[in-house]
């Protein structure tokens, strides 16, 4: 389990990444309700929601240090 760096909620990394099916031309699709992630400074950071990720984006330093 990862922790959302913004609100502290736990995020199931495997669920965020789980494939739910395929697009018309073969890319994996995923379930948007399971949270999301952000490629930050060469590493994946996980969030429970787009809202939290939005906050993170405005000042990543605040949250990276805190987490």
């Amino acid at each position: 389990m990862a922790q959302c760096p913004v609100c502290g909620a736990s995020v199931d990394e495997a669920a965020v990444r789980a494939t739910t099916g395929f697009t018309a031309h073969g890319a994996s699709e995923m379930d948007p309700t399971k949270g999301t992630r952000q490629f930050h400074d060469g590493k994946w950071v996980y969030f429970d929601s787009l809202e939290c990720r939005g906050k993170f984006l405005t000042s990543p330093e605040t949250y990276v240090r805190a987490s």
């Binding site: 697009t23 031309h25 995923m30 952000q38 060469g42």
Partner: protein, 403 residues
């Protein structure tokens, strides 16, 4: 200088109209905007068959050379064909397809492979530029591509990759050298969407509403976030030079702004409003006779003509090999803002009912006008926002300082 159409051009327009009347049947219209129709591979096959016929007529890839599956024709011909098909919401142009950049920067092999496929609509690109922290300031993108022998390895994420769930390929901007100044360490890659390691996460916005009725501008299709994890692609997927991607991308985007597509989106809305006013009356009140409404309609019509003339001018600059710099930016500001004004005017005429979306019992014509109003803002954001376009006009067109 001649602003009229030649007899041949007028004949072509009639021919296209007759073709549409005959071949754009109910089953084609029903497939419009479905996720499969994007590449002309619709399950029902009606759209695919239509595209085959359009291709046989020589109306796809008109301005592209014959050796790449095009027609070697001129932009005005392209424009007329596209204008007519836009009326039934069927894309036949190459705007936003990635083709101009491939023609300009691609290897012979890339041109041979991609251009005919794009023209026949068997190949389509999702555009992977924007990232969560790199929109208007695109050059600060972080998605990385690292050379490993004969391959590149991609890691990163893209935001608002609109057709990622429908496209066969992706046109990706990634950082190949993090140590160079930000504009100079970027490259462009072309590769199939089914390459292992790509994941697509659906994203719905105000402009992308799944309940929007078919025929809405943008409305019914979602956009996406797209993730890349250890995606290995052949080194030959590089478009142009390594670290030369910024110029290729900017040039491609600029060329994509030329021509018909922006203006044509607004044509539909302009026709909507005129038809709506002419065809409706409410308990004896005929909007077509209301002086305030007539004023507004005339004003929007004048705006639409400005739009059309700007489009013609940039097409003619490109046609004659001229230096095309800020004209696309001017068009890209005016056309979307005009589109917003048009949809807003319709909403105002409809009053509160004009705000109701599809599904509401009192929605007007399945809420199409309300959905169009929401969707209208998108074209002022993507492909370079109107604020950024204005800045480019000042810098490139008016020679003003950067800041």
């Amino acid at each position: 200088m001649d602003f009229g159409y030649t007899p041949e051009q007028q004949a072509l327009r009639r021919e296209v109209r007759a073709f549409i009347a005959e071949h754009v049947t109910e089953d084609v219209l029903a497939e419009r905007g479905s996720s499969e129709s994007n590449t002309g591979r619709g399950e029902g096959g009606a759209m695919k068959r239509l595209y085959e016929k359009v291709y046989e007529r020589g109306w796809l890839g008109i301005t592209y050379p014959k050796e790449y599956g095009g027609q070697g024709g001129d932009r005005m011909t392209q424009y007329i064909v596209e204008e007519e098909f836009t009326r039934v919401d069927i894309p036949v142009g190459m705007g936003g397809s990635g083709a101009p950049a491939i023609m300009a920067a691609g290897t012979e092999e890339q041109k041979q492979y991609y251009i005919p496929g794009l023209i026949k609509r068997e190949i389509s690109f999702a555009l992977g530029f924007t990232e969560p922290h790199a929109g208007a300031d695109l050059a600060s993108l972080q998605c990385r591509a690292v050379r490993d022998g004969d391959e590149y390895v991609i890691n990163g994420q893209k935001m608002y990759t609109s057709s990622a769930h429908m496209a066969t390929h992706i046109y990706l901007m990634a950082r190949t050298n993090p140590n160079l100044p930000k504009h100079r360490g970027i490259s462009i890659f072309l590769f199939p969407m089914d390459t292992p390691g790509i994941t697509v996460r659906p994203l719905w916005t105000m402009q992308n509403d799944p309940t929007a009725p078919i025929g809405t501008t943008y409305g019914h299709q979602r956009t996406n976030e797209t993730f890349f994890e250890d995606v290995r692609i052949p080194a030959a997927s590089l478009l142009g030079k390594e670290n030369g991607g910024w110029r290729v991308g900017a040039m491609g985007l600029n060329l994509d702004r030329v021509g018909a597509s922006r203006y044509l989106i607004s044509v539909r809305r302009d026709e909507d409003i005129v038809n709506f006013v002419k065809l409706n009356s409410f308990d004896g009140y005929a909007p077509a006779k209301d002086p305030a409404i007539r004023d507004k309609i005339a004003e929007l019509w004048i705006e639409a003509q400005v739009c059309r003339l700007m489009t013609m001018r940039s097409m003619s600059i490109v046609e004659h090999g001229g230096n095309f710099t800020y004209e696309g930016s001017a068009e890209k500001t005016w056309a979307p803002e005009h589109g917003v004004r048009t949809t807003e005017a319709i909403a105002q005429m409809l009053g509160p009912y004009g705000q109701l979306l599809n599904g509401s019992p009192h929605a007007v014509e399945s809420g199409i006008f309300a959905h169009n109003l929401q969707g209208a803002f998108q074209s002022g954001i993507n492909h370079g926002s109107t604020q950024v376009m204005r800045d480019q006009i000042c810098r490139r067109g008016l020679d003003m300082p950067r800041k």
